[in-house]
Subunit: 266 residues, 3 copies
């Protein structure tokens, strides 16, 4: 038994994703392989790291989460496995686990043995990551799947900058989701802790979005609105539309939250 999720940028049409599922199913009878997504944008490590953080802890303890977004396949980048918060992870050591490791200081990270001579140079999903996932799903200890590394690669995750004197927090858009929502890295808690007690106003670059509201329903259809999203950070949306399109903004755009409205931040 056991449950394994797969997150890749392979698409499905070529059969690469099913090849991984097949390797795991063959090694681990009865395992449930859940195709979390194969539609990560090719090579988008930060996007995969965020998607993984959305679901990793929601699966039951013992779940093995495999991520293969691996622009470095065929270089000397390491392959790693991790145990964190009772979930298991298998991935290239390229930072894609940064967010899940950041929340689990007790995580154990090991380096997988280098691929043997039969492994392909191009498809470690099938020949390296899936076999390791199957061993973990079958209950093998992480110490037997690899040997200790203390320093997995970490992405530089942008952190918001609280300027309490100026009464504002400055962050960035970390994701544009399928609906065009602009997901920021500004924690709702930190925003609420800003001195004063007026409403919290949000800006994307120079564009005023208005106050943080309770929910989409607080504006008209097509209206621009800031809310607290499902990661408990500030998000900017257009109700039943795309904030990314409306504002011409994407990942990395500046997000400012402060207790007073316009004029726009400098």
């Amino acid at each position: 038994m056991g449950r394994v999720t797969l997150l890749t940028d392979f698409g499905t049409a070529d059969g690469y994703a099913a090849a991984m599922a097949g390797v795991i199913a063959a090694a681990c009878p009865g395992v449930i392989v859940d195709h979390a997504s194969h539609d990560v944008a090719p090579g988008d490590i930060p996007g995969a790291a965020l998607a993984l953080a959305r679901y990793a802890w929601l699966y039951p303890p013992g779940t093995v989460h495999v991520v293969v977004v691996d622009p470095g396949v065929g270089t000397d980048r390491r392959a790693i496995a991790a145990r964190a918060g009772d979930r298991l992870f298998v991935a290239p050591d390229n930072g894609v686990l940064t967010r899940v490791l950041a929340t689990e200081p007790d995580a154990v990270v090991v380096e997988l043995a280098p691929p043997d001579a039969h492994a392909s140079a191009t498809f470690h999903g099938r020949d390296v990551f899936a076999p390791a996932a199957a061993r973990l799903a079958a209950g093998e200890s992480i110490d037997r799947v690899g040997s200790g590394v203390g320093d997995p690669v970490r992405l530089e995750i942008p952190t918001p900058d609280a300027d309490l004197e100026g009464g504002e927090i400055r962050g960035v858009v970390v994701e544009v989701d399928r609906f065009g929502n602009l997901v920021s890295n500004v924690p709702a808690d930190a925003a609420r802790a800003l001195p004063g007690d007026g409403p919290l106003h949000v800006f994307i670059e120079q564009d005023p979005v208005g106050p943080v509201r309770g929910t989409y329903g607080d504006v008209e259809d097509g209206g621009l609105v800031a809310v607290v999203g499902s990661l408990d950070t500030v998000e900017v949306s257009v109700r039943n539309g795309s904030a990314a399109d409306r504002l011409g903004a994407g990942r990395g755009a500046r997000v400012t939250v402060r207790r007073s409205g316009p004029p726009a931040p400098g």
Copy 2:
């Protein structure tokens, strides 16, 4: 155990769909979560209602079908669960269950309790619908998951108009599928019951399609053809091509079926 299907407009790349699967897996060990689709066009409630009707009854009794196409998230729209024909359903109360409820007069529909304070304002898939689905999949009674409502929201499902005197039935295209087939709401049985015994001719708006044939193979490759589709309604196709592109027609286009060929309907 148990089996849960998910139908959403989330895409998969952001991790929202996997978050729902994870919540269900954690609450219901051994459950099989089947990603029916996450590619519904954003906000397309009628499209989701039709897709659901295609597969809901084919799954075994006890299956829990979850639909989250929810442009009203964050308004006061209700969240509902239903038991109909020995299958269970969880969805926003926005009409997406209209087609499955229409065929089951004995359906029981309940309103889910409003989300608690910890639920996000934007992601009821994770915080409202998946938990309810997990409880149903674990065998909890629908009466315990919510309390009775008698009047779920119903979409206005277009019904065909039989003009027996004029010897024709007029309906509309209710779906354009991936192949460009124009699926109508004209039941094959009703068309066959038209008075007379000549062949049944089909028109899309003013365009004559020709008689209803037995199968695609009755025309040449690239030929326009009317057949009885898998919903037992009249469909218009181009063999190995797209009828939607050929005729420039989409959802809502008029479909006329009658015993005589051109001239076109007025």
Copy 3:
């Protein structure tokens, strides 16, 4: 129990793919249905044949692989099932099993009984292929699911042409994958067996790609590179880019491998 994979060109949004999964789940309690892919390009039989070959043998013995890429639905093409290498297959008899049958000379192929009067003319995935798959997954013998055919349709699979005198092998691109890699049909073993011992040079049509390298990491980011891919054939890639875009090449493009570099082949 048992495991069934589905490979189709249906997309998922219309509910056709879930309809197949539902039929199988209803007939075969506890079965795991794995959506290998529903994103095959519409009608792309050679593409589906290659994708299937990538994963078919990796699944455990007893797995039932269903392929419904079926531009001939509604013609008199047969529907078949096969047992090969301890895996089972269900598909239209249009060549989509060519690659898996080619590697298993002892394969048994049977013709499914024609659809009964209740089967739709347009959706054999639901009414013919899924029911047959469910019977096989439930353990029924292939002899009971259909009756023997000796001559399933075979695609003409392009074979490379070894010109040992001229010291080169000429093949073609058989697939462009999601990353823009040009997968050829030139086996790495055959290329290595070319007389001489200089490096193996690769050309796509007239364009020199350079020598076959060990791995992507042997060139700079954005560099064009030939490697041995996961099918053990020569592939041409751009590291973290698209070779298909760079070279303007697609399926069918000529691939030449020889022991000497430019000038280009005539």
